[in-house]
C-alpha cells in the first residue's frame, strides 16, 4: 500500500519556515505551500529532494470554506513513497496559481484541464485554453456550484426513484430535448469559435523561414477526430514543412462526459462500474485502482485470496492489452488485420475467463472494497492454468516470430526516436513509454500496491527509446506478466474473497487518498476526498493516456507525418480514459 511521505521523513517545513506548513486537517497529509513561493518550493522539491516525477495536478473546490486547492503529487523515479504539496487560494475569480510548466512540462494538459473544469488560472502557462469542454462553454463544470443539464439532485440515490417512482424520461423534461446550457444571449448562428483561432494561433508561433530565396509555405493539417489511426476521436492539428512536423497541438474532449462530476454525484460503490468505462480495454485494472484508493480511505484490509485474484485478473488484463496494442500498432502501420486478429484471438480467451468470473467481457465491475465480488470457480481456474502455462507463452513466442524480425517493420521503427529518459520524466510520462526510454520505473516495484511485493519479476526496460523498443517492451512485459501469473496461480490460498460484509452503503471516514497502480498504459491514479458523507467530495482520475499525451507535441516535432501515426500508436491511448 502506498502512503504519502509523512511529515517526519522530510524537512520541507524546516527548509522553508513560514512558507510551508504541514496539512493538519484530519485524514489529510502533505504540505501546504504559500502561493507566491510555489515555484521556489517546487524547484527545491525537484532538485534538492529529488522528486523528479510530478504525476498529478488536481484542483479541488472547497466550496463551503470558500477555498480552492491545487494538489500536486510528486514521486522519485528511483522509487519510494511520494510527496504531496498543495496550494490554497481564495475562491474568488480570478483564481490564480503559478504554473509549474517551466519545471515540469508534463503539467501542461493537466493544468489546462484544471482551468477548464475548475476555473483555476495558471499564470505563466503559455497556452491556457479549454481542453475537454468546447470553447463556447460557459462556466467550469467541476465547481461545486455548477449544475449539469439534466441536474436532479446533488447526490444519488435520487428521491424520485423510490418509493414513488413515477417514470419519466429526462429528455422529456428538457424543452429543447438537448443536454446543453448556453451562455445568455447565445446565438449559435453568429457564434465564431474563438478556440479555433486560438488553437491555430498557438501553432503560428513557428515562424516561416526563408531558404535560398525560396519561400516555403507551412501547411496546417487536421488529423482526426475521425481518423482510423487516432484510436477513437482524437484530433491532432499539425503544421507541416514538407513532410516534417514543425508544430502540433492535440485536441481532446470529443468523448468527454465529465466522469469526475458523475463520480461526485455517485456514492462510493456506484463509481465502481463507471471506472470500467474509463479505459475500456482494462476494466479490471481500473477497478483495482479505484478499489485500493477507497480502501486506503476506509483503512480496511483485503481478503488474502482476493489479493491473489486481483493480481491474476490484472495481469491477464495487461497481457490482453499489450496483445491488442501490438495488433492495433500493426494496423496503424499498414499491416491490416492479420496481426490484430491474431491478437484478438488470445484476447477472446482471456475475456471468456473474465465473463465467467465477473459476468461481462469488458465492463467487468469485479472489484469490491475489501475484496472481489465472486470467487474463481475451479473449472475457470483450470482454464486460466491452461492459458498461462501452455497457450499464452507459446502464442507470445509466435507473435515474436511473426513480427519482431520482420524487416519492413524493423526499418520502419528502428531509430525513430520517441523520447529520451530525461525528457520522459520531465513530461510526466509513465508506463511502457517511460520504461522504453530507459527509466526502470514500474509502480508494481517502485511503490508496490496490493501484494506485488511478493512476486519475483523483472521490470522490463529498454534503452534506445525508439519505436522498436516501445514495441519490444510490450512483449517483454507480457512475459513478465506471465511470470507473475504463474506464481500467483501456484500460491493462491483458499479462503474468503471479501474481508467486508456485502453492504451497498460503505462508511468512508473524512480524509484524502491518492491510489495509484501500474495500469498497462502507465500510472492510473485516483484522488478521492471524503467528507464523511456517502458521496466523495472530490473524485479525480489521473489517466495514463491523457498525461502521456502531453509529450506528443515534443516527440512529433521534427518527425515525419507518416511516423506520427506510429508515435501515437506507441502511447496506446484509449479515448474513454483520455477524455473521461
Amino acid at each position: 500500500m502506498t502512503a504519502p511521505a509523512s511529515t517526519s521523513t522530510l524537512d520541507l517545513v524546516a527548509r522553508f519556515p513560514n512558507i510551508v506548513s504541514p496539512d493538519a486537517r484530519p485524514g489529510f497529509s502533505g504540505f501546504i505551500v504559500e502561493k507566491d513561493s510555489l515555484i521556489e518550493v517546487a524547484t527545491a522539491i525537484r532538485d534538492e529532494f529529488g522528486f523528479d516525477l510530478l504525476t498529478a495536478v488536481t484542483g479541488v473546490d472547497y466550496f463551503p470554506e470558500n477555498k480552492m486547492e491545487v494538489v500536486y503529487h510528486a514521486y522519485r523515479t528511483t522509487g519510494g513513497p511520494g510527496l504531496v504539496f498543495k496550494v490554497q487560494v481564495l475562491r474568488v475569480d480570478p483564481v490564480e496559481v503559478p504554473s509549474l510548466i517551466d519545471l515540469w512540462p508534463g503539467v501542461d494538459l493537466q493544468e489546462r484541464e484544471a482551468w477548464d473544469l475548475m476555473g483555476i488560472k495558471f499564470t505563466g502557462h503559455p497556452d491556457l485554453r479549454r481542453i475537454l469542454m468546447w470553447e463556447g462553454f460557459e462556466g467550469h463544470p467541476m465547481r461545486k456550484d455548477w449544475k449539469e443539464g439534466f441536474y436532479e439532485e446533488d447526490t444519488k440515490p435520487f428521491k424520485s426513484r423510490w418509493p414513488d417512482g413515477q417514470f419519466y424520461m429526462a429528455e422529456d423534461k428538457n424543452p429543447f430535448k438537448d443536454n446543453l446550457t448556453f451562455p445568455q444571449n447565445f446565438d449559435p448562428e453568429k457564434w465564431i469559435p474563438e478556440g479555433d483561432a486560438l488553437l491555430y494561433g498557438a501553432l503560428a508561433r513557428y515562424t516561416v523561414k526563408q531558404e535560398d530565396g525560396f519561400s516555403t509555405d507551412r501547411i496546417v493539417i487536421n488529423m482526426g477526430p475521425h481518423h482510423p489511426s487516432t484510436h477513437g476521436v482524437f484530433r491532432a492539428v499539425m503544421t507541416l514543412d514538407g513532410e516534417t512536423i514543425v508544430g502540433l497541438k492535440p485536441v481532446l474532449g470529443y468523448l468527454h462526459r465529465n466522469h469526475d462530476k458523475i463520480g461526485e454525484r455517485n456514492t462510493y460503490l456506484l463509481n465502481m462500474p463507471f471506472t470500467d468505462r474509463l479505459d475500456y480495454f482494462n476494466s479490471m485494472t481500473n477497478n483495482f485502482g479505484y478499489a485500493i484508493t477507497v480502501e486506503k480511505l476506509m483503512n480496511i484490509p483485503v481478503a488474502e485470496r482476493a489479493e491473489y485474484i486481483r493480481i491474476i485478473v490484472s495481469e491477464m488484463t495487461r497481457v490482453q492489452n499489450h496483445l491488442i496494442f501490438i495488433g492495433t500498432l500493426l494496423n496503424d502501420l499498414g499491416a491490416m488485420y492479420t496481426p490484430s486478429l491474431y491478437a484478438f484471438e488470445e484476447r477472446e480467451l482471456i475475456l471468456d475467463i473474465f465473463e465467467a468470473i465477473s459476468g461481462a467481457r469488458m465492463m467487468c465491475n469485479y472489484f469490491r472494497f475489501g475484496g472481489v465480488v465472486r470467487d474463481i470457480p475451479d473449472d475457470v481456474m483450470q482454464k486460466i492454468k491452461g492459458l498461462v502455462h501452455e497457450r499464452l507463452p507459446a502464442k507470445t513466442d509466435e507473435m515474436e516470430r511473426f513480427l519482431s524480425e520482420n524487416e519492413i517493420l524493423v526499418s520502419r521503427m528502428k531509430g525513430v526516436k520517441m523520447i529520451d529518459a530525461e525528457d520522459a520524466i520531465r513530461y510526466s510520462i509513465t508506463g511502457p513509454v517511460l520504461r522504453a526510454a530507459g527509466v526502470p520505473y514500474d509502480i508494481r516495484r517502485a511503490d508496490p500496491y496490493g501484494i506485488y511485493d511478493r512476486f519475483d519479476f523483472d521490470v522490463a526496460v529498454r534503452h534506445n527509446g525508439d519505436l522498436m523498443d516501445n514495441y519490444l517492451i510490450r512483449i517483454d512485459e507480457i512475459r513478465q506478466s506471465l511470470r507473475i501469473l504463474e506464481q500467483a496461480i501456484k500460491q493462491i490460498p483458499q479462503g474468503p474473497i471479501n474481508s467486508q460484509k456485502p453492504v451497498y452503503q460503505v462508511r468512508v471516514p473524512a480524509g484524502e487518498a491518492y491510489g495509484r497502480i501500474e495500469s498497462p498504459k502507465g500510472e492510473l491514479a485516483f484522488y478521492v476526498v471524503s467528507n464523511g458523507k456517502p458521496n466523495p467530495w472530490r473524485y479525480h482520475v489521473r489517466p495514463a493516456s491523457f498525461v502521456n499525451l502531453t509529450a506528443l507535441e515534443k516527440i512529433s516535432i521534427g518527425n515525419k507525418i507518416a511516423d506520427f501515426v506510429a508515435i501515437l500508436a506507441m502511447f496506446d491511448i484509449v479515448m474513454g480514459e483520455c477524455d473521461r
Partner: protein, 213 residues
C-alpha cells in the same frame, strides 16, 4: 539475409492457414462435427483451439457462462393455481444501488390503512440507461431481481420495461443459472429450517416457563 524475418513471419500465417483445414480433417477422421455443434463451439473457445476461431452467429452461438449478465428481470414463483407470486417487496435497495438510476419503483400502499405493503405497484427499468453492472441482483436481499442472459434487445423505440415485461418465472431463472438457483434455494431452506427450529424452541421454552409462572 534480408527478408529472412519476413519469411519467418509468413511461415506463421502459412501454418495458421493450414491449421484450420488440418483441424477440420482431424475432426472428420474422429467422426465428430466441428461446426454447428456445442462441442465444436466449446473447442474453438478453449486453449487447444487451432486455426479458425470464429463462431457462425446466429446459427452458432457462444456458450454463455452462468454468470453472464445483461438487463435485469424480476423473478416470480408460479403458484399451483397459476397465480404469480412476485418476490419483490419494493424495498428499494435496487433503486438505491443503481449507478445510472434507471430503476423506478412505485411501492404499494394499503388502501385502507395507508401503510406500505411489500409488493410493487409499478416497476420500471429504463433498459437504455441500464449499464448492466449487476448491482441490483447482487444486493437484492430477496433474490427477486436477477440478471438475464438475453442480449438481443435492439429495437426502434426506447426500451423502457414495465412489470409485465420484466417478470419472468423462477423456472426460467433456474434454467439460465442452475448453480446460483440451487445455492439460493439451499440457503432459503436452511433459513426456514432455522426459523422453524427457533420457533419450535421458543414454543418449548415458553411451555416450560409457563408452569413456573
Amino acid at each position: 539475409m534480408y527478408g529472412k524475418g519476413i519469411l519467418k513471419g509468413l511461415k506463421v500465417t502459412w501454418v495458421r492457414f493450414w491449421d484450420t483445414y488440418l483441424e477440420d480433417i482431424s475432426w472428420i477422421l474422429r467422426g465428430k462435427k466441428r461446426y454447428y455443434t456445442e462441442e465444436g463451439v466449446k473447442h474453438r473457445a478453449s486453449k487447444d483451439q487451432k486455426g479458425i476461431f470464429t463462431v457462425q452467429f446466429p446459427e452458432e452461438r457462444l456458450i454463455l457462462p452462468e454468470e453472464a449478465r445483461y438487463i435485469p428481470f424480476l423473478v416470480y414463483n408460479e403458484k399451483p393455481d397459476g397465480e404469480k407470486e412476485v418476490l419483490c417487496t419494493s424495498c428499494g435497495i435496487c433503486a438505491k444501488v443503481c449507478p445510472p438510476q434507471c430503476i423506478w419503483i412505485v411501492r404499494s400502499n394499503d388502501p385502507t390503512t395507508g401503510r406500505p405493503i411489500p409488493e410493487p405497484t409499478e416497476f420500471y427499468i429504463d433498459a437504455d440507461i441500464c449499464m448492466n453492472c449487476g448491482f441490483c441482483a447482487e444486493y437484492c436481499p430477496f433474490d427477486a431481481i436477477k440478471m438475464d442472459h438475453d442480449f438481443e434487445i435492439a429495437s426502434y423505440e426506447r426500451n423502457v420495461y414495465n412489470m409485465e415485461k420484466l417478470l419472468k418465472p423462477s423456472s426460467y431463472y433456474q434454467s439460465i443459472r442452475p448453480q446460483n438457483f440451487a445455492r439460493e434455494e439451499e440457503a432459503r431452506k436452511a433459513k426456514e429450517a432455522a426459523k422453524a427450529a427457533k420457533a419450535a424452541g421458543a414454543n418449548a421454552a415458553g411451555a416450560e416457563a409457563m408452569p413456573a409462572a
